[in-house]
């Protein structure tokens, strides 16, 4: 596609607006879909190496949860085919005697979209992570 110039306002430099060609793509290619098994293995490995013997702390764990979500998302991005949007959700908690259940449901296209999840626990904390992959037409 040819780039087009657009004017945004007086005294401001023009913004280049790229026009892309139609890809005529309706769905992901065969064999190029979200591979749940593979993503789950990546998540399990990443969780184990990131958390290992980490100890739960009320102040540090909030940040840990956030950085973990970003880290896992970046790792998963490497094994997921292009044109997939990702939603990575992490739950990090203190290991106690409590019970916890995480459930999710999605409205999507079952032909192309999927999810993977993994859990990790040590004596001090536990983590549950879910990654949903949604194909972007």
């Amino acid at each position: 596609g040819l780039p087009q110039q657009g004017r945004s306002g007086a005294g401001v430099s023009p913004i280049l607006k790229t026009r892309l060609e139609n890809t005529y793509r309706m769905g992901p290619d065969e064999g190029c879909k979200f591979n749940a098994g593979r993503v789950q293995r990546v998540l399990e490995g990443a969780l184990a190496s990131a958390l290992g013997t980490t100890v739960y702390s009320p102040q540090g764990s909030a940040l840990l949860a956030q950085s973990l979500a970003e880290l896992l998302q970046n790792q998963v991005k490497e094994v997921v085919p292009p044109r997939y949007k990702l939603v990575c959700h992490v739950l990090l908690g203190q290991q106690g005697q409590q019970s916890l259940l995480v459930a999710s449901r999605a409205l999507w296209d079952p032909e192309s979209d999927s999810f993977a999840s993994a859990t990790f626990s040590n004596v001090s904390l536990f983590a549950v992570v879910t990654v949903h992959g949604v194909y972007f037409e």
Partner: protein, 112 residues
């Protein structure tokens, strides 16, 4: 009251519907290990049904976590790889005497 803000437009006020869903399912119940499965399923299903009724061109992902109150700490975080101008998320926290509940709604735009 939380709205999902997408770009400059608030596409829906998700926290009201989520709160109502959670309240109707968990209400005044005490944490019950045998019932937790059907509770989370009900919350997630009702939330999704409400979202579908809005009739917007979005794919939705709803997650729900129910935890027994025991003094232990819990943190949740999410990271999304998407188009920030069209997609959005909303989180609702709810609790009663015996349990905590966190519901996340993620809306991913479909271009028609």
């Amino acid at each position: 009251s939380q709205s999902v803000a997408v770009g400059e437009h608030a596409i829906f006020s998700s926290s009201d519907t989520s709160c109502a869903c959670i309240e109707s399912v968990l209400g005044k119940a005490d944490y019950n290990h045998n019932k937790v499965n059907q509770w989370t399923a009900a919350i997630v299903e009702q939330s999704l049904t409400h979202l579908v009724k809005l009739g917007k061109t979005y794919k939705y992902i709803v997650t729900c976590a129910v935890m027994q109150k025991s003094g232990a700490g819990l943190h949740t975080a999410s990271s999304c790889f998407w188009d920030t101008t069209t997609d959005g998320t909303c989180t609702v926290r709810w609790e009663n005497r015996t349990m905590n509940c966190i519901v996340n709604v993620f809306a991913v735009a479909i271009i028609l």
